[in-house]
Every structure is written in C-alpha cells, then in structure tokens.
Amino acid sequence: MRRIQMTVDGRGHIAEVEPRLLLLHHLRENLGIGGVHWGCNTTNCGACTVLMNGESVKSCTVLAVQADGAEITTVRGIMENGLWHPVQQAFHETHGLQCGYCTPGMIMASVSLLKENPEPSEQEIREALEGNLCRCTGYENIVKAVQMAAPYVRRSEPVAAS
C-alpha cells in the first residue's frame, strides 16, 4: 500500500492505495465520483476523461500513485459560481448527447481543448475529440456544443439557459 494525496475538484484527499489501482477506480470507488464514467477500460473510448493538472487524461490509463500530488478535475468540479460551465450548458442547449454515457468525458476533453485552443475550427474540434467515442449521436451536436461554448469560455461568461 502506498499513501497518496491529491486535490480532486478543489478538495484534498489522502488515501492508502495499492500501486495497481487505476485513477479511474480511485475516483469512482474511493471518492464516490460517479461522474467519471468507466467505459472501455482500454484507452479507447474516453468516457473516463478527467483533467490532471489542467490537461485531459484517460483515468483508466493512469495509476492513482502516478497522480500523487496532482490536481484532478472531474465533471463535478467545473461549475462556476453555482452555474454550469459553458461547455456543460452548451451540451444541454445543443442536445449534444443521447444516452449520456460519453458526456462527462466529452465535456472534459472539450474543456481541455478550449484551454489549449480557445478558437478551434470545426476540423480542429473533430480532431481534438478523436479520443472520445459516442455511439449515439454521430457527433454533430457534440461539435455544435463545443462551437457554441468556445466564445463564452474565451470571455469567461456563462451560457444563458434557454
């Protein structure tokens, strides 16, 4: 067992973990964050995407011990001042989901994209979401959601609910 500490959605957590424990399972089972989805578990589908020190990672392919000392952000931790993050609201507005299983990962991958590239083209959005699979939507409304959110993220403004 190994003692690790990390900040998850702004709160510090200390835990004793087995080295083989995946960050995904640490977040879901030890910290109870069901918003981190357990999908393919093979680094393909991206449902488990979280931010590690501000950048998107697939939490099924990071050991919890590798994240010792890291700042982790999940879909639970991106609301600002009690309002949904612009990317969350935009997914709602454009209906960028059907079953919703991929949505937390899609949102976190999109948040990471907009930090790195605040004004992405449609092609850049599609390429940036290459690591996130959606088996329902055909991606059209997901791309529209990111396009809608981008200017609000640039201005740090919430998207008004319709």
């Binding site: 093979t42 697939k58 590798q66």
Partner: protein, 283 residues
C-alpha cells in the same frame, strides 16, 4: 482489466532508477507516461513485479537547441514535442509525427522516451527517428553510451536497452533548407494505429534528390528503413520517383491481421513511400 499486483518505486533521479533496476533485474520495468506499458499490463500481456516510475525525474523533461542538433529529454511528452517551436522550425517531421500519436489525452501523458523504449513497430515515432537518423543517449551502471536509431530496434518489442539501462535523451538533426520531409500514415479509423506509415527525409540538389531516407511503420517486427528505395531514389527527379519506390517493400516482413493482409501492406508501403517522397521534395 486490472494489472497483476506489483511493487512500485518512485525514482528520484536517473541514477536512482538505474540503482533500482539493478536491484530487481529483469523483474522490473521502467514506467514513463505509461501509455504503452499500462495497457499491456491491464491485458496481462506483461506482469512486471516492480515498476520504477520516472515520472518525477524532471531532469529528463526538456527540448534544447544544441546548435547542429536538438536534444529531447526522454520524459518529454508527445504534446510538448508536437508544440515545440524549435522542433517545428528545424525538425518539423518529428513535431508533426508526434501530433499523430494516439489522441490528445494520450499525448498529454505519453512520452517520446517511453514510446521508443517500448519499441513497437506499429507506433509512429520510431520510423520518423529512423528517417531522421536520430541518436539515443542511454545511461546504465557503467556510464553513458550513444546508439544510432538504426541500431536500436532489435526485434518485436525488443530494443538495445539492457534491463538496467535508461534511455535519457533523443538527438535529432536540424534539417536544412534543402531538406524536405513528410509522414504518410494510413489508418482506417481516427485514433487507430497505422496500418502502414512511411516517413521521408529528402535532401534536394539542383532539382533532383541527392539522398532520401525512408522509415516504415508496421512493416515487420521492428520499424524499418526502406533501403532499396533509398538507393533507387538517389539521383531521381520528380518524374522518376514513382519508378524508384517500386521496391519500397523489399526486405520487409509485414504481418496479416484484421486491419490488412501482408500483400496489402506491401502495396501501401509503395504507395505511401511515393506520396511521402513527392511531398518531401516539394517542401
């Protein structure tokens, strides 16, 4: 999809990592970003008893302009290689190839040194490093040595690294204004491994090719140079490229799998080498 239990140590430095590897022999594996090793451990295709984590060795995270070449620390992540201005300006092939590895999440974690040490013939960076005639700096208990990329990849997932050695640095040349490059990656779906890929680094002189170096992805058990096509391309001009690459698959031994037959891979090697050389001579 959970790895077999293992012991875990954090290396404080390269020397500490070498010491830990020495204590545990071939039971130990180095962990870099973990984006080759952890997936195969989760599939239980690998079950090392000890992981030595290089993730905290910040001395191995750098990209430096060294005059005639660029030195890249082994723990530099793909996303950093992809965005680095020095590499984009002087060794665009490497920055571009890094941008095609996996997906953004993978590039945020995966490292250049980890990818090379894994030695997978289907991954993109090794064939680019072959075409660039990169050099690898390796440190072990008896000091440091330098190995050419051409001599590094030995067999399927086997490299020149001894169990107690650490790849520390990758050196790539600065490409001059008469040097063009291209990487042509063929795959069927986004995010997939290359079915086949071809990298070209071409020196131009008076409207023809003086030398061409071709690296092939996924055309055998190791990344390969297409030496027969390289010889045929020497002295070729734009009109004779298509003929010169007809033997681009000579000396390769591609496998047949769900993605492609060996025969189709040979076809792809010729087509992609032609496209790579044509693009390289025009930029």
């Amino acid at each position: 999809m959970i790895p077999v239990a293992f012991e875990y140590e954090v290396a404080e430095s390269v020397d500490h990592a070498i010491e830990l590897l020495g204590q545990h022999g071939d039971e130990a594996k180095l962990l870099a970003g973990g984006h080759s090793l952890l997936p195969i451990m989760k599939l239980r295709l690998a079950a090392p008893a000890m992981l030595v984590d290089l993730g905290r060795v910040n001395d191995l995270k750098y990209i430096r302009d060294e005059g005639d070449h660029i030195a890249i620390g082994a723990m530099t992540r793909h996303c950093e290689v992809e965005r680095d201005q020095t590499l984009r300006e002087h060794c665009g092939l490497l920055a571009y190839t890094a941008s095609l590895v996996g997906d953004p999440q993978v590039r945020h974690r995966g490292t250049i040194g980890g990818s090379i040490s894994h030695g997978d013939a289907a991954s993109d960076l090794p064939s680019a490093l072959l075409a660039l005639e990169a050099e690898f700096v390796i440190r072990g208990p008896n000091g440091e040595r330098t190995v050419r990329a051409t001599d590094f990849f030995k067999d399927y997932l086997q490299t020149d690294l001894a169990p107690d050695e650490v790849l520390t640095e990758i050196r790539v040349p600065k490409l001059g204004s008469n040097t063009g490059w291209s990487y042509q990656k063929f795959n069927r779906r986004a995010q997939d491994w290359a079915v086949v890929g071809a990298c070209a680094v071409v020196e131009r002189s008076n409207g023809s090719i003086s030398t061409a170096r071709i690296g092939l992805t996924n055309m055998g058990s190791t990344p390969l140079r297409a030496t027969a096509a390289e010889r045929a391309l020497s002295g070729a001009d734009a009109g004779s490229i298509a003929d010169a690459v007809q033997n681009a698959d000579e000396g390769t031994s591609p496998s047949s799998d769900v993605a492609a037959s060996a025969e189709f891979r040979r076809h792809l090697a010729r087509v992609l080498t032609r496209r790579a050389v044509e693009q390289a001579v025009s930029r």
